[in-house]
Symmetry: C2
Subunit: 221 residues, 2 copies
């Protein structure tokens, strides 16, 4: 059943803002501290619930739990300690060779969830196919941008839950793909998010947050 | 002063999840309902606080308040009603012709906020310049992806605050740029976010949310 507005207990703006200000790209995690199951469940679910163009969800999230795999990945990410020390490591991926079969799979899912005949979704499907049949590199770029929405959703959810995270673009995508066997599964790595808790001596968390003043970043027209 | 962990009052995972489930890409906004100032302030600030690669913030957010401008934009966005009816319309933009001057401006800001001599930031600057001096289309694609993080942050913050929003890629970027005079200001439009409150008869909000099952979207390795 859809959730109505009344079911949504809104957070207070000040407390959410405090969470967003507290958030920092943590470089040094406390390797002993684990994310409680309810918070991690919400974080995984936030990835599933992240919006994407047309709702296509041409994305998948691999959580690397195996310490041996994490150790193998670390040299392919400039030997950054987050790879092995954060409680969780998420590899955010985009569908490889996205095409008509993927659109069909999505249309079938819409039909199933909304109890609509597939034929009724034909105009919607045509629109999506027009996007999916652009040159492959444009399709990949478009769907990769959607993965970054999920990254933003994940980081904000983590902050609101008091969980530390670190978004990471500094890694060798080809090596990650190879080590994790992603292309054979139909996926390509896009970006990483480590999650856990900051170490007491993390050098970054204690530094002042650098942002341009709001009047330079937001303008009214 | 940096905010410590203790200052961050974490949200309950269940209430945050309820907000994320309540969220939907609202197509029909109630044109009469306005976002209260504290919530809108937090939403603007969430855009400023959104993380980006190296922290570069090669992005700007134009809020279109002028109803005449909104009316002019609407035909360039498939005549979608959100453009004129949502309380707020954010045009998320990426820096045009990003280059060394932008890196310098950022380094100066880091120096100012963290009270460090610019010379101490030289290695950091070299790394950023290496990224900024890739072929222009790659730089633009990389920085455009960062804008999508901000979109994810904004949509999640809105949901947590009980504010409705709609991300929109379906618009003519060149026409938006021209109508708003963005390139002359140094920016290019990337994606839109309308924000406000759903109309009681919004057809989408009452439909079941379509997502693939979590076991197809999240995998453990």
């Amino acid at each position: 059943m859809p959730i109505t507005a009344a079911a949504n207990a809104a957070a207070a703006p000040e407390s959410l803002l405090a969470s967003l200000r507290w958030r920092a790209a943590i470089k040094k995690f406390d390797a002993q501290k684990k994310i409680p199951a309810p918070a991690w469940n919400a974080l995984e679910e936030s990835l599933v619930l992240a919006p994407s163009s047309y709702g296509l969800q041409a994305e998948k999230f691999f959580i690397v739990d195996d310490p041996a795999l994490r150790a193998k990945l670390r040299p392919a990410a400039w030997d950054q300690a987050q790879i092995t020390d954060a409680d969780k490591l998420v590899v955010l991926c985009v569908k490889k060779d996205f095409g008509e079969a993927d659109v069909d799979r999505f249309v079938e899912r819409v039909s199933e969830v909304r109890k609509l005949p597939v034929a009724a979704l034909e105009p919607y499907k045509k629109m999506m196919l027009a996007s999916a049949q652009l040159p492959p590199e444009r399709v990949a770029a478009w769907l990769t941008r959607q993965v970054y929405i999920a990254l933003g959703v994940f980081l904000t959810t983590a902050a609101a839950l008091g969980v530390d995270a670190c978004p990471m673009e500094g890694f060798d995508k080809d090596k990650f793909d190879e080590i994790l066997g992603l292309p054979a599964k139909g996926w390509n790595s896009v970006v990483l998010a480590a999650a856990g808790y900051r170490a007491a001596d993390d050098a970054y968390a204690s530094q002042a947050k650098v942002r341009f003043p709001r009047e330079q970043v937001v303008a009214h027209l």
